[in-house]
Structure formats: C-alpha cells, structure tokens
Amino acid sequence: MITTQKSRVSSLFEQRKDNSKIMSLFITAGYPDLGSTVDLILGFEKNGADIIELGMPFSDPLADGPTIQYASNVAISNGITMKKIFEMVKEVRKSSEIPIILMGYINPIMRYGMEEFCRDAAECGADGLILPDLPPEESTIISESAKKYNLDIIYLVAPNSTDARMKKVDDLSSGFVYCVSVTGVTGARKGEEVAKSVDRFIGRVNQYVTKNPKLVGFGIKNHEDAKLIAKQVDGFIVGSALIDTIRKNYPNNDWMQNVLSFVNELKYGTKET
C-alpha cells in the first residue's frame, strides 16, 4: 500500500500535457471550521485542483503573512490536532486519489515524533511534506523517516538562492521543487509586480533544477497571475488568495459555492468555462 503512494505525485506530473498547468491549492486544516476541510478538498478537486497542500497550523508561522497567520489561529482555536489532520486525510482517501502534501513548521512534527509522524502521515494516505523552516542543512532529522515511509520532501528555492543552492535543492527534493516567486512572506501581491521580477529567477531555476518538476508560488491571486507567472514552469500554487476568499464569504449560506467557483476560475479562467 505504501509503495503506491509515492507515485501519486510523480504520475501526476508524468501525465501532465504541455498546454495545461498543474494547480496546487493550499488550505489550512481546520479553517474555517473542522468539519469543512474534507469537503473543501473534494470540492477543490472537482473544480480543477491537481494537488492539495494541507497546512498543519502552528502558533508562530514566521514565513507567513497576515492571511495564513489568521487562518492558523482560527484553526488552533477550533481545536485542530495532528491526529485530526490525519483523520481528514484518511477521509479524503475514501473517495479521492488527489496527491496531498502536508505543509507546516517543524516544531509540531518534532513534538509528535519524526518517525511516528512520517509513519502516521503515510498510513493515512499523505504523499509528501513541505517544511518551510527546515532547510536542507537541517533536514537529516526527518529525511530518513520520510524516505522509509515513501513521503516526498519538497524543498524550496527563492530568488536569492545561488545557482549551486538550486542544484542542491533539486538533488534533495522529490515530487517537485517549490519556487518562491519573491522574497517575502506568503500573501497576496500585485501579479504584475511579481511577474516583472520572476522571469530572470525562473530562467535560472530552469537551468539548475532539472530533475524535478517545478511549481511556482507566492503572490498568485487569479487565473491571469497564474498564466503570467507559471508560464515557464509546470504549474502554480495558490494559498493566501484562497483563504482570503473563504474569509470573505464564510459563514454565508453560499460560502462554499463561492469558494469553489473562485477555484474553478483560478484553473480555467472566466472566459474558458
């Protein structure tokens, strides 16, 4: 069972057609409430999501802007726990094979126990990990356990990463490489501004990250941004803009429909649907 899991991410990229981009969506587990996370994930998939990045909330998310800080705080107040996150993934797996990457800071994982965390994450059907405060330097504390349970570890590259650093990240990563489009914390920015500086960065990424597929994230808030910024890579990641949309609509009666139509437009654009 474990051996089939790794292939979810890689087979996704193998099957990607040149003219389509992979869309990965970030959602904080337990936001806006504990009961909605599974429905949101399944709804995202129906509306074009290819990968889910499921955020494991932490009290001190120092790489995140105000939006994800807010969602993390709400989720923690809602009583989210690691066990509940695993239950959510298990629930999704009853009806979906969408790749699920768990994303979060290292301290809650360390507290759970590295080995136990990797074992339980794999067992419930998660496919990989993104750990924003665990650079390659420190990754040995979890990399063996992750490998043992066939969990991909996705590392990040940023515009200020050196060429050598990009190569190193490519060597260590499996699944894909996360390209941070701008230096800064997560959060919505003007798409045109990001696009202006991103070309040179992505040029270097394409030169030095050659083993893994590449997704670009940070600052993408609509279909147009995504098309512009992800032009030269395999796909894109949206997080804060999605959470902002939930925040704007929740708990109105039609909040879920509005969020899902946002997702649909994100993938396909308004004209193409």
Partner: protein, 411 residues
C-alpha cells in the same frame, strides 16, 4: 522538584576541560542550528562570513573595543556590596555593574558589535525586536550614532509596560512598530522582525538582541557580550586575587548570563547559576521558566528548550518583567543545562519585586526587574555560603524603565 530544591553544599559541576561549542554548523550539543526559511539561508551565510572575518580583522576589533571604552563606558565597575553582604552575614557579594553601560543595560555591547558588522556588509537598514525595550534602545542608540534607518518591533503589551523606553527609541529617531499578534510580547515581536527580514533581506540587517535565533546569532551575540565575564575575572583578580565561587545572572533569552559565564566555563571551581522567571510559579501556567518545565523544540530558528503544549504550539510565557517573558531560551543555555555545567532556578514575580526593594534600600542601586530575579536568588544561595566565599551577581540593567510597574506593585 530537583530543579527547585536548594543546591546542596557539595554543589558539583561537570568538568569541562576544553569548551569549544558551537560546531561550525552552529550546534551546542544537540541544540542550535538554522531552522529558517530558504530565503534567509543566503543572508545567514553572508553574515557567517562577515562575522568570521571580523574576528581576525584588527581594524574591526579596535573600532569595536574603542567604542566600548569611549562610548559605552567600559570597563564597567565591579562593586563590593558591603551592606547586602552584612545583611546575609555569609559570603562576600560583588555586583558586576552592567547597569552603568550607556543606555542602562548590557544590551549595547551586542548592538554596537552587530551594527559595525551591518555597516561593513553594506546594509543600509536595521531592524530589531525588543521585549523590555533595552535592546531596542541600544539598537536605536547605535543607529543614531552611525546614521542608520532603524525599525524596532515591540509587542503592544510591552509598549504599555515599558513606555519610557518607547519614548526613548522614538527620540533617538527609530520607528517603533507595535505588534498586536499572539501574546503581543517579545515572541511575537521576534516573529514580525523575522517576517520583515524575509521581505527586505537584500538591504536589511536584523540585530537580534539575545543569544537566540539561527546560527551564527547565538555564538556571535555571546562573543559580543563575553567582555562582561572577561572584565569580571580581571577585576576580581585585582580585588581578591582569585576566581569567584559563584556567578549568578538572570536568563530570558540569556545574553547577559552567557556573556558573564562564558569566560569562566573552563574554570571548574566556579559554580554558575542562571535564574529564570517563574512568574506566578513554575507549577502554574503563568510562568517563563523554560528550562524548569520546558522540553526541546524549535522556535525562531533554533532548537532549544521551549514552553509548548503537547501539539507543539508555543505557549505564552508570563513574567512581571518584559525582558524575561519569553517561551524559549538560547541554545547554549540548553546545552549548559543538560551538561549540568550551569544550574538553573526559577524566581517568582513576588520574589523578584522583594529583591528590587532590598537591593535599592541596601545598596542604593535600583535594578531592572529582570536583574532583580538574580538578586532574589541570593536569599537561597547566601545562607549556604561560607564567609570566605565570593559571589558575583551580574547587575545587568538599571530599573528606571520599570518605575511605573514598581510603583504600582508597592502601592
């Protein structure tokens, strides 16, 4: 309970013949490291190189030490506390007078050092976090002296508690940004400073105020403060012709304590005691006694003891002193704690405030509430000392900034 019991008279320390921590990866035993977003890795590597170069750069060293002498006012005095000594009627008590440093606390030793590095690295903008405001004031002061833009992040609650220091920072030309997330204290101010750094990494230097954060900050900050211990050793040799028996210092992140202890680590007969803020008591949830009740975890870029719940969510620390209510502690303290080279104890708000009064009345020195935690431990330690023993307390800062809290407490 062992960590709370009185030290026995056979107070033993683990023998450390040669102390070489940290490793080049920034580890003190299993503590330390660089747990930061990828964006900060190039900045830390650049800083490591600049810092290493500064160690062997005679011009840098001369400029730094000249500033300590002519601007900070070093060496600070070692004062014999005769009335406090008489009060206990046991060993002799000395105070290392960091409260006499320009700006009123030890923090400026480090702020000046890091600012010189920032200038040499071509950075044009300085940011810092502050709890009690002493590091913020020290950084704002250094920035004024060298003409740098300066932004200080401070928790909204701390801005209230330490209003005087907020006014001082603003007068010195710094922008003080109020942090309203989380506990609105030092932990959250540090989060915001790191977010600023991640965003403005190209032109900005982050002056961290304690021996916390990712490598090389803990070792760099320690070494900018080691002058405290080096002077103490020299001055006590002159006054008494020998080493002290006990060193006592307060510990939040732990910068004054490390600077004080470090030059004595290989002197195995010198017993060292770090004093944490126990708040309302280490057995309550209103505490900042990280080593007493915490477990290892990662906060603000390094692995160290931490106050966090079973889900790994960081807990809010409490202490009456804004400089000690931090849920983490410098990684080197965690290492010295685990190896038992330094012993750590908790002091409550009440005990600390009693000590503020006692030291003010017997020695004519109004200590910062942070510092008073160290003085409060004398109640426990002094009865166990012999007449011919010597205790040195690091008087890390003066209490002017705390007058509002002190007046309210005693009224």
């Amino acid at each position: 309970m062992t960590k709370y019991s009185l030290p026995d008279t056979n107070y033993t320390t683990q023998k450390i013949m040669k102390y070489t921590a940290p490793t080049k990866e920034g580890y003190f035993g299993k503590f330390g490291g660089k747990f930061v977003p990828e964006i900060l890795i190039p900045a830390l590597e650049e800083l490591e190189i600049a810092y290493e170069e500064s160690l062997n750069d005679p011009l840098f060293q001369k400029e730094y030490h000249d500033l300590l002498k002519e601007y900070v006012g070093r060496p600070t005095k070692l004062t014999y506390a005769n009335r406090l000594t008489d009060h206990y009627g046991k060993g002799k008590i000395y105070f290392k007078r960091e409260d006499l440093c320009h700006t009123g606390a030890h923090k400026i030793n480090n702020a000046i050092g890091q600012l010189l590095l920032a200038r040499n690295m071509g950075k044009t903008r300085i940011i810092a976090e502050t709890g009690a405001g002493q590091h913020g004031v020290a950084t704002a002061t250094a920035c004024a002296k060298f003409g740098f833009d300066c932004v200080i992040y401070m928790g909204a609650e701390d801005m209230e508690r330490q209003k005087l220091n907020v006014d001082r920072m603003r007068l010195l030309g710094a922008e003080v940004r109020s942090v309203t997330s989380g506990s609105q204290t030092l932990k959250d101010a540090t989060n915001e400073a790191i977010r600023d750094w991640v965003t403005n990494v190209e032109n900005t230097f982050y002056i961290i105020g304690s021996v916390v954060g990712p490598h090389p900050y803990p070792v760099m900050t320690r070494n900018f403060h080691r002058v405290i211990g080096e002077e103490t050793k020299e001055q006590l040799k002159h006054a008494e012709g020998r080493l002290p028996d006990y060193l006592v210092a307060c510990v939040g992140g732990g910068s004054n304590a490390i600077g004080f202890f470090y030059p004595f680590i290989e002197d195995e007969d010198v017993k060292m005691i770090g004093i944490e803020a126990a708040g309302l008591g280490a057995d309550t949830d209103q505490t900042a006694a990280t080593l007493t009740i915490g477990t290892p975890g990662v906060l603000h870029g390094s692995l160290s003891y931490l106050l966090h719940d079973t889900e790994g969510q960081v807990q809010l620390a409490h202490s009456i002193s804004a400089g000690l209510d931090y849920p983490g502690i410098g990684p080197e303290h965690s290492y010295l704690f685990d190896t038992k080279r330094v012993h750590y104890f908790g002091i409550t708000d009440q005990q600390a405030m009693d000590a503020v009064k006692r030291v003010s009345e017997t020695e004519g020195i109004i200590p910062a509430i942070e510092t008073a935690h160290a003085f409060a431990y004398l109640e426990t330690l002094m009865p166990l000392t012999q007449k011919d023993e010597i205790v040195v307390v690091n008087c890390s800062g003066r209490g002017d900034k705390d007058m509002k809290t002190i007046s309210e407490w005693f009224s």
